[in-house]
C-alpha cells in the first residue's frame, strides 16, 4: 500500500483514533482543524469504480436508445428525441461528476443542514404547486423550478444521506443511545419520509427507509430500537394498504404480484408487470438481439423508464442479463469498498449512503421488473430516461470518487 503521497492529509486513517478524527473536537483537544479547501487533489480516484460507472452508463445509454426508439417516435415523431436528451444530461452529469471529484467532501458537513432544509422546502412545495391534483388524491411528485422539472424526492434521498453521515460522524460515542443514536435520526428521517409519502410516492419512501435503516445500523444505532417502530410501521402500512382509498391501488398491485400473468383487467400498473414478464421472457437464453425488441413498440409501458430492464432482458437474453447483474454487483461492491476505506467516518457513511441508495434502487427496480416484488415506480440508475435523476446519480458518483481520493486503497 502506498498512501504517503497524500500531502494535504498527512496521515492516512489507519488507527482508530485517526479514523474517528471528528471525535477530537468533542474532546476539546483539537489536534487538527480541517481547513476549507475548494479542491482536494490528493491521490488519484478509484479507477475500477470510475470504469464500472462508465461501462454501466454506456450500456444504459445504448439500452435506452433501443428501448426509447419506438416510444420516442410515437410520442414526438422523432426516434432520437429521448436518447439525445438523455445523452445531453449524461454529458452534464459526467462533467458535474468530474468536478465533484475535486471538491473536498468534508465541505458537505457545512452543507448538510442547508441541503436538508432546502429539500424539505422543495418537498413542501410539491403539494402546494399541484394543489388540485394533490387534493384529488393523485400522486404528485414533480416540481418545476426555472423550467427544470425534477423530483424533490431525489434530492431528499441525498439530503438524508448527507444529514445522516453528518450526524453519525458527529456522534462517535453516543450512537448506541436512544436519545442520540435513534430519536434525532428518526425525526430527520420522519420529516422527509412523511413529506414524500403524502405525495403518494411509496417507492421513494421505501428507498429513504432502506437508506435510513442501513446507515443507522452501520452507524451504530441499536437495532432493538427499531423493533417497536417496525411493528408500528407494519401495522400502519397494512391498515393503509387494506383500507385506505388513497392507497387502495397497492392491494391490487400485490394481488398482481402474486399472480402476475393472470391479471384480469386491472389498471395500467398491473398490466405493466404482465407485459414486463412477457418482455423479459421473450429474451430467453440468448435474447432477440440488440434493437430487436418487439415489446418496446408500445406493448410494454414505460419501456424507456422504469421497465427498461425488461427490454434489456428481451434483447440480450439471460446471459446478457447475468453479465449486467455482475457489473451492477461489482459496482456496488466497489462503491462499498471505496466507502469503507474512506479516511474518516463521515466519508465512509456518505459513501455507503450513496452506494446503498444506488444499490437499493437497482435491486428494487430489477425486483419490480422481474415481479420479485410488487410494482412500484422506481427507475433504474444509469438506464432509465430522466435528466435530473441521471445528473444527480452521476454527481453522487462524483462524491464517491472524491471520497476514494482520500481513501487508503491502492490506486495503482
Amino acid at each position: 500500500m502506498n498512501y504517503s503521497k497524500d500531502r494535504s492529509l498527512k496521515k492516512v486513517p489507519k488507527s482508530e483514533a485517526e479514523f474517528d478524527e471528528q471525535e477530537i473536537s468533542k474532546d476539546g483537544k483539537r489536534k487538527k482543524k480541517i481547513r476549507f479547501k475548494a479542491f482536494s487533489r490528493g491521490l488519484g480516484i478509484d479507477m475500477p469504480l470510475l470504469f464500472l460507472t462508465l461501462i454501466i452508463l454506456s450500456i444504459g445509454l445504448v439500452t435506452l436508445f433501443s428501448a426509447s426508439y419506438a416510444k420516442s417516435y410515437y410520442d414526438y415523431g422523432d426516434s432520437l428525441q429521448i436518447i439525445l436528451s438523455q445523452v445531453r444530461f449524461a454529458a452534464i452529469g459526467l462533467t458535474v461528476m468530474l468536478l465533484l471529484t475535486f471538491f473536498d467532501y468534508h465541505q458537505y458537513h457545512h452543507l448538510a443542514i442547508i441541503i436538508y432544509i432546502i429539500s424539505v422546502i422543495l418537498l413542501l412545495l410539491v403539494p402546494i404547486m399541484s394543489y388540485e391534483a394533490f387534493m384529488d388524491g393523485e400522486p404528485v411528485r414533480w416540481l418545476t423550478i426555472f423550467g427544470i422539472q425534477f423530483q424533490p424526492s431525489e434530492i431528499a434521498k441525498f439530503a438524508l444521506i448527507l444529514m445522516f453521515a453528518h450526524m453519525i460522524s458527529k456522534r462517535p460515542t453516543t450512537m448506541h443511545t436512544f436519545r442520540h443514536g435513534f430519536l434525532p435520526f428518526m425525526i430527520v428521517f420522519g420529516l422527509l419520509a412523511g413529506l414524500v409519502i403524502i405525495e403518494k410516492h411509496v417507492s421513494a419512501t421505501a428507498i429513504l427507509s432502506f437508506i435510513a435503516i442501513l446507515m443507522m445500523f452501520i452507524g451504530g444505532t441499536r437495532m432493538r430500537f427499531f423493533i417497536p417502530f417496525i411493528i408500528l410501521v407494519a401495522v400502519v402500512l397494512a391498515f393503509i394498504l387494506l383500507f385506505s382509498d388513497r392507497f387502495g391501488y397497492a392491494l391490487e398491485r400485490i394481488v398482481a404480484w402474486l399472480d402476475p400473468l393472470n391479471v384480469q383487467g386491472g389498471d395500467t400498473n398491473t398490466h405493466q408487470i404482465k407485459q414486463s414478464i412477457y418482455t423479459l421472457a421473450s429474451g430467453q437464453l440468448l435474447g432477440v438481439g440488440l434493437g430487436q425488441s418487439r415489446q418496446k413498440y408500445g406493448w410494454l409501458p414505460e419501456s424507456q423508464n422504469d421497465f427498461i430492464f425488461a427490454i434489456f432482458c428481451e434483447e440480450m437474453g439471460f446471459i446478457g442479463v447475468i453479465i449486467l447483474i455482475i457489473l451492477f454487483a461489482l459496482l456496488i461492491w466497489r462503491g462499498v469498498y471505496v466507502a469503507i476505506h474512506a479516511k474518516d467516518k463521515f466519508g465512509m457513511m456518505l459513501g455507503l449512503g450513496i452506494i446503498f441508495q444506488i444499490g437499493i434502487q437497482i435491486i428494487l427496480n430489477l425486483g419490480v421488473v422481474t415481479s420479485t416484488i410488487p410494482v412500484t415506480g422506481i427507475s433504474l440508475p444509469f438506464f432509465s430516461s430522466g435528466g435530473t435523476s441521471m445528473t444527480m446519480l452521476l454527481a453522487e458518483m462524483g462524491i464517491l470518487l472524491q471520497i476514494s481520493r482520500g481513501s487508503n486503497i491502492n490506486k495503482a
Binding site: E16, F19, D20, A70, Y74, P172, L214, F217, I218, G219, G220, L261, I277, Y278, T279, L280, A281, S282, G283, Q284, L285, R294, Q295, Y297, G298, W299, C313, G317, F318, V321, I322, I325, F328, A329, I332, W333, V336, A339, I340, K345, M348, L352, F356, G359, I360, I363, L366, G367, T370, S371, T372
Partner: protein, 779 residues
C-alpha cells in the same frame, strides 16, 4: 472490536445481504421467466403483438351444368370501429354522426358501440357495398380523421337466379357458413381457407415496422359444377307453379328430372321454395299475409314453421306413398322372377282376397277389369293384378327387390337432410302388407328414392347413384373431384327393363293406357301415374273429429313418373302434387289428370333442349307447332316474305294498302307457339288496339267446333303438345271473357278419362282404413 471494525463488519454484512438476497431473488425469477417459461411466454407476447387480420376466403361459385352462375360471392366490406382511437382523438361524436348518415344507422347506436375506450375492435356493420366504403373513405378524409374506423374484406353471397333451385342450393349465414342445401353439404369445399394478414400492431394502433408483416393468402373455396341445368330447372319450376295454380294444390309439389344412365339430377324443383338472397323472408306472399293476420303470440311459431317449410327440400326430406307409380317396380319384379309374362291372364273381379278369409281389397274400378293380360293389367293399373304378383312373390322375394331397388336405404344423394324410408322388412311383411306394398301403398319413400327406382326400371336394371354435383374445381379451374357415376348394382335384367318399357310406352297412348296425359308429340314416353291417399292424415283427422263435424276430406298425392325415349331411355321425370283440391279445381285429383299434363309440359320443353331426337308420326307432324318469327319493325313487304318463308299466313290490321308501312305490333309475339299453318296478324302504327276480341268459352266443344268458334272470333286454336283427342276440350289457356288482340293463339287440352286409380277396401270407404296401424311400420 474497534468501532471501525464493527462498522466495516456491519457494512459488509449489509452489502452481502443486499447483493445475495436481492440479486439472488432476481436471478431466480429470471431463470423462471426467461429459461423455464421463456418459450411459452414468448409466444404469448408475440401473439398479442401480432395482430392477425383474417382475410376472408372467397366462397366458391356454384355453376349449373352449362356454366351459368347459380351462387356467387362478391366483395363487400365490414365496417369496424376502433373505440380507443376515437376516444383518444376525440372523434367519437363526429364519426357517429357521419357514419349514421352513410350507413343508415342510429347515431346513438354507433356512439354506444364506440363506448369502450380500451377496445380496438367493434364490428359496426357487415356486408357493406364498395360504394359505401368509398363514401366512408371520403368522409374520413373530409373530416381529417386518420384512424378509428377501418374496413375489412368480406364477401356476400348472391344468387343471380333468385328462387330458382333454391331448395337445392340452400343459403349461407354470417361468417361464410353454409346453412342449408348444397351450401351446407359442400360447406368445407366451398368455404376455402381464410388467409391471415399478420402484422405487428402496437397497442397505440399503428403498424409496427414492416419486418414483422406476414401475408398468408386466403385460399379461395372450390367451385361446384352441378348436374342441374338452370334452363331445365326453371322450366320444371314454372311448370310446377302452373300446376299448383291450375289444380289448386295445397301442399306443394316436387319435380325431379334425372339422367337415367348416370344418376345426374338435371332438375330438382320443389314448391314451396324461397329466395336465397333473402332466405329469412317468407317467399310466398299469401303465407306472409296469413302470418301477419295471426295473433301476435302465434306469429313467431308460424313464421318459423313457414321458413322451415320453404327451406325444406321435399324431394329428399319428405316421405310419401308412391302409389301406382310403384307398380312399374312390382311389375318388374314379376317379370324378372317369371311369375308373369306380358300375356299372363288374370281375372279382375273388382276386388281381391289377398289372404284366406280376410276382407278383400278393391280395385279402383269397382266393376273389375275382367280377364286381362299382365300388360293390360299394368296399363289399367289394376290393383288386384299387382296384389296377385305380390302374393306370388312372397315376403322374402318382394323385399329382396324392394331392397335391391334402393327403397330400404337412403340414396346417399349429395344433399343434406335426406330422410330414411318407412317400410316393413321381410320378416314383418304380412299378407296385407305385401298386398298394399305391391300397389305402392302403406310404405313411405322419398321422391328421390322413387325416381332412382324408376331409373333402374328404365336403364336396364342398374341402380344409379343420384347426385347433384358433377365435379368440383378449384379457383384456377383444376378439377379437384369428379363424381363417380357408376351404378350401385343391377336389380333386374336389361331384358326385363326393356319389356316393362314397352308396356309403359303404350301406357301414354290414347285409348290404350291410363297415363295418356304424359304423352308428348314426337317422343315415345313411358309413363305411370300414381294417386296415393294420405291415409294417415285422414285417420288422424278422423280420430280428433268432434261430434257433429263433417268427416274430413281424403287428400291425395297425384304423381306421374316416366321416362323417355322408350327405345333408349335417357331422362326420367317424376312429378308429384301434394293435395290437389278436387272440390276447387273441377274434380281433378288423379295422377294422370293433375301430374300428367305438367309432366308432359316439362318433357315437351326439356327433351328437345336436352338434345333428345324427336320422331313424329304423320298425324303428330301435322299438328306440330311453329315458333313465331319476328317481323316487328319491318316493312309490311319484308314481313310478308319472312312469314311466307316460314310457311305462315298473315293478316294486316290498320293501313292495309301500303306495303311500306312498318309493322308496329305482331300477334302472336316473337317466339310464341303458333300452329304450323297459323297466321300472324300484323298491326300497323296506331292500329295496335284496333282489333280486340272477347275470348269465347270453348270448353266442352270438340276440336272442330272449337276451331270454328275461335276463327269466328278472330283467334287461332293450338293443340297442346300437338295432341288430338276424341273427347271434349277440358282446358283453354286463356280464360273465356278475356279481351285479346286478333290473332291470339288459344291452346287447348283435353280431359280424357280422369282416372283416379286408388285402391279401396271392401267396406266401400275409399281407402279410409289402413290394413295395419301405422305404428307397426318398420323403418
Amino acid at each position: 472490536m474497534t468501532p471501525q471494525k464493527t462498522m466495516w463488519r456491519k457494512a459488509l454484512v449489509a452489502t452481502a445481504i443486499l447483493l445475495f438476497v436481492g440479486f439472488g431473488a432476481i436471478i431466480i425469477n429470471l431463470v423462471r421467466w426467461q429459461l423455464v417459461r421463456g418459450e411459452e411466454l414468448k409466444s404469448v407476447a408475440l401473439e398479442q403483438s401480432l395482430q392477425s387480420t383474417q382475410l376472408t376466403a372467397m366462397r366458391g361459385t356454384i355453376y349449373d351444368a352449362t356454366g351459368k352462375v347459380l351462387a356467387q360471392s362478391a366483395s363487400v366490406w365490414t365496417v369496424i370501429l376502433e373505440p380507443y382511437s376515437l376516444h383518444k382523438d376525440g372523434t367519437r361524436a363526429t364519426v357517429a354522426k357521419g357514419l349514421a348518415e352513410i350507413l343508415d344507422m342510429e347515431e346513438d347506436y354507433i356512439y354506444e358501440r364506440a363506448s369502450n375506450k380500451d377496445s380496438y375492435y367493434a364490428v359496426l356493420k357487415r356486408r357493406v357495398e364498395s360504394s359505401v366504403r368509398d363514401e366512408i373513405d371520403a368522409f374520413m378524409k373530409d373530416n381529417k380523421i386518420q384512424r378509428g374506423v377501418y374496413m375489412i374484406d368480406d364477401f356476400k353471397r348472391y344468387y343471380p337466379y333468385g328462387s330458382v333451385a333454391s331448395t337445392i342450393l340452400g343459403f349461407t349465414g354470417d361468417e361464410n357458413t353454409g346453412l342449408y342445401g348444397l351450401e351446407a353439404q359442400y360447406d368445407n369445399e366451398l368455404r376455402g381457407t381464410a388467409g391471415r394478414l399478420i402484422n405487428s400492431k402496437n397497442p397505440i394502433g399503428g403498424d409496427m415496422p414492416f419486418q414483422y408483416e406476414q401475408f398468408i393468402d386466403a385460399q379461395h373455396g372450390y367451385n361446384l359444377i352441378l348436374t342441374i341445368d338452370e334452363t331445365v330447372q326453371s322450366v320444371t319450376e314454372k311448370a310446377l307453379e302452373r300446376g299448383i295454380e291450375r289444380y289448386r294444390v295445397e301442399n306443394g309439389a316436387v319435380g325431379i328430372l334425372v339422367d337415367v344412365k348416370t344418376g345426374a339430377i338435371i332438375a330438382m324443383a320443389c314448391k314451396d321454395d324461397f329466395d336465397p338472397n333473402a332466405p329469412f323472408d317468407i317467399y310466398d306472399e299469401e303465407e306472409q299475409a296469413r302470418i301477419d293476420a295471426l295473433p301476435e303470440a302465434e306469429q313467431d311459431e308460424a313464421y318459423t314453421a313457414a321458413l322451415n317449410n320453404q327451406w325444406r327440400n321435399k324431394a329428399i326430406s319428405d316421405v310419401y306413398y308412391p302409389g301406382s307409380v310403384f307398380k312399374m317396380v312390382t311389375g318388374s319384379m314379376g317379370l324378372e322372377e317369371g311369375i308373369v309374362n306380358e300375356n299372363t291372364p288374370f281375372n279382375c273381379t273388382g276386388a281381391y282376397i289377398y289372404y284366406k278369409d280376410e276382407d278383400p281389397i278393391h280395385c279402383w274400378l269397382r266393376t273389375g277389369h275382367g280377364t286381362q293380360t299382365f300388360a293390360q293389367g299394368l296399363l289399367n293399373s289394376c290393383n288386384p293384378y299387382f296384389m296377385y304378383i305380390g302374393q306370388q312373390l312372397g315376403a322374402q322375394r318382394f323385399f329382396k327387390y324392394f331392397e335391391g331397388f334402393g327403397f330400404a336405404e337412403r340414396t346417399g344423394i349429395d344433399l343434406p337432410d335426406e330422410s330414411a324410408s318407412i317400410y316393413y322388412d321381410a320378416e314383418s311383411l304380412g299378407p296385407a302388407d305385401i298386398a298394399t306394398h305391391s300397389m305402392g301403398q302403406n310404405f313411405g319413400i322419398t321422391p328421390i328414392q322413387m325416381i332412382t327406382g324408376i331409373c333402374a326400371v328404365a336403364n336396364g336394371g342398374y341402380l344409379i347413384q343420384p347426385h347433384i354435383v358433377n365435379r368440383i374445381v378449384d379457383s384456377d379451374g383444376n378439377i379437384v373431384k369428379t363424381t363417380d357415376t357408376s351404378f350401385k348394382r343391377q336389380v333386374i335384367s336389361e331384358d326385363t327393363s326393356q319389356r316393362i318399357s314397352n308396356i309403359l310406352q303404350m301406357n301414354t297412348e290414347i285409348g290404350v293406357g291410363t297415363a295418356t296425359k304424359g304423352y308428348v308429340a314426337g317422343y315415345r314416353i313411358c309413363g305411370k301415374t300414381g294417386t296415393s291417399e294420405k291415409v294417415d292424415k285422414y285417420n288422424n283427422e278422423l280420430a280428433v273429429l268432434a261430434e257433429g263435424e263433417d268427416k274430413p276430406v281424403m287428400q291425395y298425392i297425384a304423381s306421374y313418373g316416366g321416362y323417355a325415349p322408350a327405345e333408349d331411355p335417357q331422362y326420367a321425370l317424376l312429378v308429384f302434387f301434394d293435395e290437389p283440391q278436387k272440390e276447387e279445381n273441377g274434380g281433378l285429383n288423379g295422377g294422370d289428370a293433375v301430374a300428367g299434363p305438367i309432366f308432359a309440359d316439362i318433357m315437351a320443353e326439356v327433351l328437345p333442349y336436352l338434345g333428345v331426337k324427336s320422331q313424329y308420326s304423320e298425324e303428330e307432324y301435322e299438328n306440330l307447332d311453329a315458333t313465331t318469327p319476328s317481323v316487328m319493325g319491318m316493312m309490311i313487304k319484308d314481313a310478308k316474305i319472312v312469314l311466307e318463308e316460314a310457311g305462315l299466313y298473315y293478316e294486316i290490321v290498320g293501313v292495309t294498302d301500303n306495303d311500306n308501312e312498318v309493322v308496329a305490333f305482331q300477334v302472336p309475339s316473337v317466339g310464341d307457339f303458333i300452329p304450323n299453318d297459323g297466321k300472324v296478324v300484323l298491326y300497323t302504327q296506331g292500329a295496335e288496339n284496333d282489333a280486340m276480341g272477347v275470348v269465347p268459352d270453348i270448353r266442352g266443344y270438340s276440336v272442330e267446333e272449337a276451331r270454328n268458334v275461335l276463327e269466328e272470333a278472330g283467334f287461332q286454336l293450338r293443340l297442346q303438345h300437338g295432341r288430338v283427342s276424341e273427347s271434349a276440350i277440358a282446358n283453354q289457356d286463356i280464360e273465356p271473357g278475356t279481351i285479346e288482340r286478333r290473332g291470339t293463339v288459344i291452346t287447348i287440352s283435353f280431359a280424357d278419362n280422369t282416372i283416379t286409380e286408388t285402391f279401396q277396401f271392401s267396406d266401400g270407404s275409399e281407402g279410409s282404413e289402413s290394413p295395419e296401424g301405422d305404428d307397426s311400420l318398420d323403418e
